[in-house]
Symmetry: C2
Subunit: 147 residues, 2 copies
DNA sequence: CACTAAATCATAATCATTACTATTTAGTTT
DNA sequence: AAACTAAATAGTAATGATTATGATTTAGTG
């Protein structure tokens, strides 16, 4: 399901965020890349060609705000932060296949690994990585709060 | 299985890398953190207290060399690069549980997700992420080489 | 139209990482 | 054991992503 710019804007509105022309253009850009991770620095560069003199701060801050709204998925890779617009607002459990050539992201539905291959016809799988996050037994026993 | 400093040194030797006192100390440090990811910048800081005036370059370059030897596992997170000594030289397929409080890493053996929980008694699971890498169908069809 | 909190701009700082070149050193050879 | 040489390191500075700060502007409201 593709998300539209209007949906994104209404989510800002629903959260009492002002619809500035900068935010509007930023969303417009992000929405067109729903199936690719984009480096924040590339977004930054693009926005500053659209709005000469736009502040780095504005771009980075808005991206962070969009992330807390659940509009964006963020991941770190290779000294850069990558973002991808996500329409899955219910944070439904799923994983990604990421093309190491063009960066295209294909969403996967099931969880056990073997089943994934069937969802990727024609693709070449070269590797995968999974990490589970939480508190280890020692930290859990200490009563540390999960964040 | 814990790896020893001697094993690490012999791997350098086997690859015709010189055993400098800097590399020796670096390995010594990394080997003591086999079950934690450590930020390279923290390694850098530590090494420079051991060797006043040690070059950033030296630390970063050696860590990269150790990675290509398969001695280290590297991942990006939050504008930092994290490393972990790994004894698994055959690159045996496995995943990690990472404590979000202390950073401790617990190696997991099986793959389907549900089975993992049984391997983490006493732990609090707050989330997980998996990504499969490769070439998408379009890039595969184009004949792009996997890297 | 005025108001005000929120957002942005402009500038500079910070932090991780990398580049570059002169100097040093590990491991080998004589 | 001294000499040799490629490899490694030191020292210095640059780069690039991201964040901080304080003054100015603006979206949304009354």
């Amino acid at each position: 399901m593709e998300a539209t710019l209007e949906q994104a804007v209404s989510i800002l509105r629903r959260n009492q965020l002002k619809i500035t022309k900068q935010r509007h253009a930023l969303l417009d850009y992000l929405v067109t890349y729903q199936d690719h991770y984009v480096a924040i620095s590339a977004v930054d560069e693009h926005m500053r060609t659209l709005f000469a003199g736009m502040s780095h701060n504005t771009i980075y801050r808005n991206i962070k705000e969009f992330e807390t709204l659940g509009l964006l998925e963020v991941k770190s890779a290779d000294n850069q932060t990558l973002v991808k617009y996500q329409c899955d607002f219910e944070h439904q459990h799923h994983h990604h296949f990421v093309c190491s050539n063009c960066g295209r992201v294909i969403e996967l539905q099931a969880c056990p690994l073997d089943a994934y291959e069937a969802q990727l016809p024609g693709c070449t799988i070269t590797g995968h990585r999974m990490e589970i996050y939480g508190l280890c037994d020692q930290c859990t026993a200490k009563g540390v709060q999960a964040n």
